[in-house]
């Protein structure tokens, strides 16, 4: 019989050795370690470059303008995040929880703007809404408007980034909303809360973790974007980094700027971590197969349709219409337009491989973060975001630096390119995989262990099949983003490995819009195909499990 005196307990404590936890198995931490090393390459490179910085570079960096640019960049990131929330949360709610007419169609259409690259979107916005753009032309006849208000600068950058990055938020929020236990809202209604109060006090609160991780992606995307800000004449930090390379080929100063961006990223991650940290066990309801309540819009149907319609119009139809117009114009001017099937194939191949590799590497990071949560695993998860926040050219140059020295046979091969994509876009997959792992009760994995299955077998038979949708979602996100990627592709791809993105760039850089239109439309088509495939897959999975 065990009745221990306090004295005895103290003895036990002092006498025992350091507790061993059930540490993660090697098949998780070895790849995770690989990811950590991969993610730290860029910061290490930047430190090496900065170490050789002279007084000049530092004084250049420390001038007043740098601080101004920093403040403006942060202001832009915050505004874009706020604007995307204002668009994405209502859109998610309308397409998941209401009787909006053609709901399924809207669900697809509102996600599709993700496939429009910001450098194409930026061009299109200027062409359409510039002071003397197409809209002005339309208005000049009936209304005699000579000039539209300036689109350039902060408002233009805000508009472009919001229109083409809100789907990151939408995807996250949609998933959380669809997985929400209807009992939560029903409970609120039974406690006397009206629909509005329920939405703000229950539904919205429930969406917070998902919205926070969506906001993180949007904020980091804004920090690292070059295409939209440069076309819309907004002087952001990333544009400054490009200017450094452009003007002086001064890698040192660019490195100093990039390190500041890394610091900025870390503080954004820290902020998000604080929001999420408190909500760690805030899961979407699992177990109930009940579909959520559907809200009848009634006479609000028309405003809702107008809202969805205008978002889709600006972020999807206008870009496609203008690209098509360019294409037709080019055909009429009998400019030889080559079909770029090889580039389409390259794009699909590189994006597909990148999606698979990135999700595979995201898996151990996500599992460690959820199942073996601790300081190390959360640090690892944070580190995985560094690549996403740095401009592509910085990642590309860091891989040039290390690749040519330590991985010479792989330098400028497809393998290296895919590795670069993994470094750049890992967090998109980690986020998606992590939230789906969080939805599975650890008891399921334990049950499988107690039935005699080893950890790798449990991963293959229980965890992977159950997080299938999360894996697919992460893969799709990475696929779409890689389709658009430019700077790393230009520097690191195998020679002759043209992608749709490089074809678009090759043409737009010389102002050859007719030539750009074909690959740009093809890029949108291939990416849209991928999204539709994904949605079909999700549906099928849903049928099996429900």
């Amino acid at each position: 019989m065990a009745i221990s005196s306090p004295q005895k307990r103290t003895d036990m404590k002092t006498g025992r050795r350091t507790p061993i936890s059930l540490g993660p198995p090697a098949f998780l931490w070895v790849p995770a370690l690989f990811v950590a090393v991969a993610m730290l390459l860029a910061p290490v490179y930047l430190v090496i470059r900065t170490a050789s910085a002279g007084q000049d570079a530092l004084s250049l960096f420390l001038r007043e303008r740098t601080a101004l640019v920093l403040v403006r960049t942060v202001a832009l990131a915050i505004s874009v995040t706020a604007a995307t929330s204002a668009i994405a949360i209502p859109l998610a709610w309308l397409t998941v929880r209401t009787d909006l007419p053609l709901r399924k169609l809207w669900s697809v259409l509102t996600i599709l703007p993700l496939v429009v690259p910001s450098y194409v979107g930026g061009f299109v916005l200027v062409a359409a809404f510039g002071p003397r753009g197409m809209l002005q032309h339309l208005l000049s006849g009936p209304f005699g408007i000579e000039r539209l208000p300036e689109i350039y600068g902060f408002p233009g950058a805000l508009l472009a980034l919001t229109l083409f990055s809100y789907p990151y938020m939408l995807l996250n929020v949609r998933a959380a909303l669809a997985g929400m236990d209807p009992a939560l809202e029903e409970a609120a209604r039974s406690l006397g809360r009206g629909p509005r109060s329920t939405f703000f006090h229950v539904t919205l609160q429930h969406l917070r973790p998902a919205a926070a991780s969506g906001a993180l992606l949007v904020a980091l995307y804004t920090l690292s974007d070059f295409g939209a800000v440069s076309l819309l004449q907004f002087d952001s930090f990333t544009r400054q980094i490009y200017v450094q390379y452009q003007g002086s080929f001064d890698r040192t100063l660019a490195a100093v700027f990039s390190l500041v961006l890394v610091a900025l990223t870390i503080s954004v991650l820290f902020a998000e971590g604080r929001v999420r940290g408190k909500l760690r066990y805030y899961r979407s309801g699992v177990g109930t197969g009940r579909p959520p309540m559907v809200v009848s819009l009634g006479r609000w149907k028309w405003p809702a349709l107008f809202f969805c319609g205008s978002i889709v119009l600006f972020s999807l139809f206008i870009p496609i219409a203008i690209l098509s117009y360019w294409l037709v114009q080019g055909l009429l001017a009998s400019i030889p337009l080559q079909a770029v099937w090889a580039a389409a194939l390259h794009s699909a191949l590189a994006s597909g491989l990148a999606a698979i590799v990135t999700v595979t590497m995201a898996l151990p990071v996500a599992i460690l973060a959820v199942r073996y949560s601790g300081r190390l695993s959360s640090l690892l998860e944070r580190i995985s975001y560094i690549g996403f926040a740095l401009p592509g050219i910085v990642i590309a140059l860091s891989l040039v630096f290390f690749g040519i020295r330590f991985a010479t046979p792989f330098y400028q091969t497809l393998g290296m390119l895919v590795f670069a994509y993994m470094v750049l876009f890992l967090p998109q997959a980690v986020g998606s995989v992590r939230s789906s792992v969080m939805q599975i009760s650890p008891r399921l994995e334990e049950a499988a262990r107690s039935l005699g299955h080893s950890p790798p077998s449990v991963l293959a038979r229980i965890t992977l099949p159950l997080i299938r949708n999360g894996l697919l979602g992460g893969a799709a996100l990475v696929f779409l983003t890689v389709m658009k990627e430019l700077p790393a592709t230009l520097v690191l791809s195998p020679i002759g490995f043209d992608t749709l993105a490089t074809e678009v760039w090759n043409a737009t850089t010389e102002g050859l819009f007719a030539q750009a239109a074909m690959p740009a439309l093809l890029l949108i088509a291939v990416s849209s195909g991928a999204i539709v495939l994904l949605l079909l897959q999700e549906k099928r999975a849903g049928r099996v499990e429900r």
Partner: protein, 368 residues
């Protein structure tokens, strides 16, 4: 019994299948990556290119070109080079500045044999790092001394004139001042567009400093800045903005206009204006090439640059990209003002290698 079948087939085999799938998948993925890694570089150039019998160079020799000039403009030319001189030409297309940064990062391990750059500044940066090999006189002497490096390690291959592009609906040519100095007049306030981050613009400012001196350059920059010029990403963006009437004039290279006219027809509402009387505003800039000193294919690389300076290549630049030939005897494109009609100020482009002063100036004035 149905569930027996399920246990036998579905459960067991599906799960074994999962494991198998994962295994096959990773194996095929890895092998695919390796395979592509091994093959991709070799597929670079259009298949079927083999050395013609006339070639003096051993078949199978290949060179790697880092081209800061875009594929849409010079792709056909570079495809042709290989066929004509019998070497495989592998081209990495990219942004001039980013490729320069990549070459500097690669250092002596760079896979590039030739760097083909959009502007002299980028070549100057590589030259300054001591990474370019001296070119033989036979190549250098094909172009005038003002179009090549002072050290003799790079050479211009095509010329682009600095011009003022103006909107033909809002302005007549006679409204434009003889010198670009005239644009500092307050009447141009809000009507000017420029691309200060662009390499050719910076080369132009460097030229101004060399010819007219620091003081006058500062005066001009401050004068323009006082007129609130619009900042555009690059030359194309300026040309489009001028044509749309967002701004009335812009400082650009001449040939971007012609790409637009080619696409949109003669009705395109912008035209080039060449400042008169040897004004610095009409300076000639070049795209050029140099050979990396670590190349193992120097001879092939030299043949490549020689080809770019050959009559057929020069004619390509004139007719397809609307540039100026730098070698003698090639007539200018009919749509482009011939050199005889414009007053190009004389300056050695080699002396423009040093960009740092210009960048410092632009930063100090708050333009960059």
């Amino acid at each position: 019994m149905t569930f027996n079948r399920i246990i036998r087939m579905d459960y067991y085999e599906v799960n074994v299948l999962y494991l198998k799938l994962i295994k096959t998948f990773s194996i095929s993925l890895l092998s695919l990556i390796f395979l592509l890694a091994a093959c991709a570089p070799k597929q670079a150039v259009t298949p079927g290119v083999s050395a013609p019998a006339s070639s003096q160079i051993t078949p199978g020799v290949s060179i790697t070109v880092y081209s800061g000039r875009s594929k849409s403009l010079i792709g056909p030319l570079l495809d042709q080079v290989g066929k004509d001189i019998g070497i495989e030409v592998r081209v990495r297309y990219g942004d001039t500045a980013q490729l320069a940064a990549a070459i500097l990062e690669e250092g002596k391990r760079t896979p590039a044999d030739v760097f083909f750059a959009q502007d002299a500044g980028a070549l100057g940066a590589i030259s300054k790092a001591g990474m370019l090999a001296p070119l033989p006189d036979g190549i250098l002497n094909r172009v005038g001394t003002e179009f090549r490096s002072l050290k003799g390690d790079w050479v211009g291959v095509s010329g682009r004139a600095r011009v003022v592009v103006y909107n033909t609906q809002l302005l007549k040519e006679s409204d434009l001042p003889e010198s670009i100095r005239g644009f500092t007049d307050p009447k141009w306030k809000g009507k000017i567009g420029w691309p200060p981050t662009n390499g050719s613009f910076q080369a132009f400012v460097t030229a101004m400093r060399k010819i007219e001196g620091e003081q006058k350059t500062i005066q001009w920059l401050e004068g323009i800045k006082a007129n609130n010029p619009k900042v555009y990403k690059d030359n194309t963006a300026v040309v489009l903005a001028v044509a749309a009437g967002e701004v009335q004039v812009g400082f650009v290279n001449h040939y971007y206009l012609f790409n637009q006219i080619k696409q949109k027809g003669e009705s395109f509402t912008a035209r080039n204006y060449y400042p008169k009387k040897g004004d610095i505003g009409a300076i000639m800039n070049v795209a050029g090439a140099g050979i990396l000193s670590v190349t193992k294919n120097r001879e092939a690389s030299e043949r490549f640059i020689e080809y770019l300076l050959s009559d057929s290549a020069q004619r390509y630049f004139v007719n397809e990209t609307f540039e100026y030939a730098l070698t003698t005897g090639i007539p200018t494109h009919p749509g482009v003002a011939p050199l005889s009609q414009i007053d190009v100020p004389k300056i050695d482009l080699g002396s423009l290698e040093d960009l740092e002063g210009t960048l410092k100036l632009l930063r100090d004035l708050g333009i960059l």
